[in-house]
Amino acid sequence: MAVAVEPKVMTPRATPPTWAEVNRDIIKTLDPPGRGWFLGMAVILTGLALGALAWARQLKLGIGITGYTPPIFWGTYITTFVFWVGIAHSGTLISAVLFLFRSGWRSAVYRAAEAMTVFAVMTAGLFPILHLGRAWFAYWVAPYPNIRGLWSNFRSPLVWDIFAISTYLTVSATFLFMGLIPDIAALRDQATGWRKKIYSLLSFGWRNSNHEWRHFMRMYLFLAALSTPLVLSVHSVVSWDFAMGIVPGWHATIFAPYFVAGAIFSGCAMVITILVPLRKAFHLERYITVRHFENLAKLCLLTSSIVGYAYFTEYFIAWYSGNPFERSSFYNRVFGEYWWATWTMISCNVFIPLLLWSKKIRTSIPWLFVISLFINVGMWFERFVIIVTSLSHEFEPWQWAYYTPNIWELLIVTGSFCWFAMWFMLFIKFFPSVAIAEVKEALPPPGRTHAGGGH
């Protein structure tokens, strides 16, 4: 059990923090950053700068500086795009879906997860532009009235993407900010100086009055209700970028659920990856407990098995369909030039997560952290395998080829991780990374011994 693993940890069951403590502890995380934070930021900004330079060079000379080898016309960029969109999913899942299901454990972790979502989408959004041959004309994809009288082609999954991703960004950002309002009010009420001014502004004059709560709770409920199908739709649409193509290895009906499961899988892993250091740095052991991690681990386990099943189905149907192109494509995936990518994917996403069946491992933070890293790698490779190996081995044998990313692509990809990290680092210093109000809801109100919270 948890205590056995981390004796220092005090679960709410042990002695629940009082509401006052909650305010104190969580607002404490906004104290001026220390050396560690600045050091980290320096590294992050350097990586970001390198990525930016690489992109500048690509814009100047042409996308040919990358390793693209026809017929592999999509590579690392789209892979990383799908990776980030996937990451973006668990956030909304935890905040919206678990909210609808009234599962209490979400309250401590959903804020960080949601922030992660927003920043992940912001990162993902870069790549469709990055990979364009003429990035400076990216806006042509959007259907806006123009003198050419030409709109965009709504039959193209890429246009669906534009709508799905931008909607997702808007809604999840709104959702995050709405959840923040009561907390910002709390910040405002104890802050001083310029911070007070800013928070007053951002709190819209929130007063925790019944007139506000009444409408707020409704709004929150409906946002959650709208976000839930949105989460499912976004990654389905992304998967259709491939499923709508006739490329063997892409053209499959299973793609939507398969991708959604994968997205939640990678998202939960990333949440773990982020929460572990966050919890340590901010001493939030009282709020983010082993129980939370265990639940995330269980989600990973579930989605991992779904993903594993999807893999199996893919290969089975490829064989069962008798379609020679499909068969050849999938055979090549496992035993062809790209065997290394495929096996990395399978071991990281299917085999390694099996460890989570053991409660010992499931409840051990170090184990979880390491496993979550493996899952992140594995899910990146899943997209790489789907995109690159399928394209490398299509209908036309004369046009089979082999592609590996080169330094410029890798610089840009690293840059994208830094871009994500930068926003997150800023966020945790300006806003509470654990939801003050909702943690309180989960705790017994002053004068009571059990939390009758809720709505």
Partner: protein, 174 residues
């Protein structure tokens, strides 16, 4: 203990409570006495409070519904309209390829629905509030509860008594 004299000029009174139960007690009492224009400040929403106040369901849901429906309409209108604006055949598919446009319709449904919902909240909750709220106390965002009662001198005085009786830690003029 000695209580300060009630100054009739005061438009209202605020009771600060340490515990939820004391708050609920006072609230019930006030409701029973037919007080209106009550404002309850609580760090988190609590169903007990809602039960006592027992207000009608928030109209926000209407905003959601209307927003979502107009979103759907817009999405399809947009896709179909632009396709017909300049008929271009691609891949031998019909000019109006409805199955493809469902995605667009869906996304706009969510988008406009969500934005309308937020707008509804802001309108109904009268946000943003620019002026200081009467009787608000910063502790209400931490761990204290409060009831603000507005009214004529007589009512205010009566309210103050009720609050005290219910066990308010403080009862202050607004």
């Amino acid at each position: 203990m000695a209580t300060p004299p009630v100054v009739p000029a005061s438009p209202g009174v605020v009771g600060v409570f340490d515990t939820l139960d004391a708050l609920l007690l006072a609230l019930r009492e006030l409701k029973a006495k037919g007080f209106t224009g009550l404002t309850v400040h609580s760090p988190v929403p609590h169903h007990d409070i809602e039960d006592i106040l027992d207000e009608p369901v928030s109209p926000v849901r209407l905003f959601t519904l209307i927003g979502a429906l107009s979103g759907t309409a817009f999405g399809f209108y947009y896709a179909i309209g632009t396709s017909l604006d300049w008929e271009l055949i691609v891949g031998g598919k019909p000019i109006v390829s409805l199955p493809a446009y469902v995605v667009i319709g869906f996304e706009t449904t969510i988008l406009i629905g969500a934005l309308a919902t937020v707008a509804g909240m802001f309108l109904n909750a009268r946000l943003p509030k620019l002026r200081k709220a009467a009787g608000y106390d910063p502790r209400f965002s931490a761990d204290k509860f409060g009831i603000v009662v507005m009214g004529g001198p007589a009512q205010v005085a009566a309210a103050a008594d009720i609050l005290r009786a219910a066990g308010a830690a403080e009862v202050n003029d607004v």
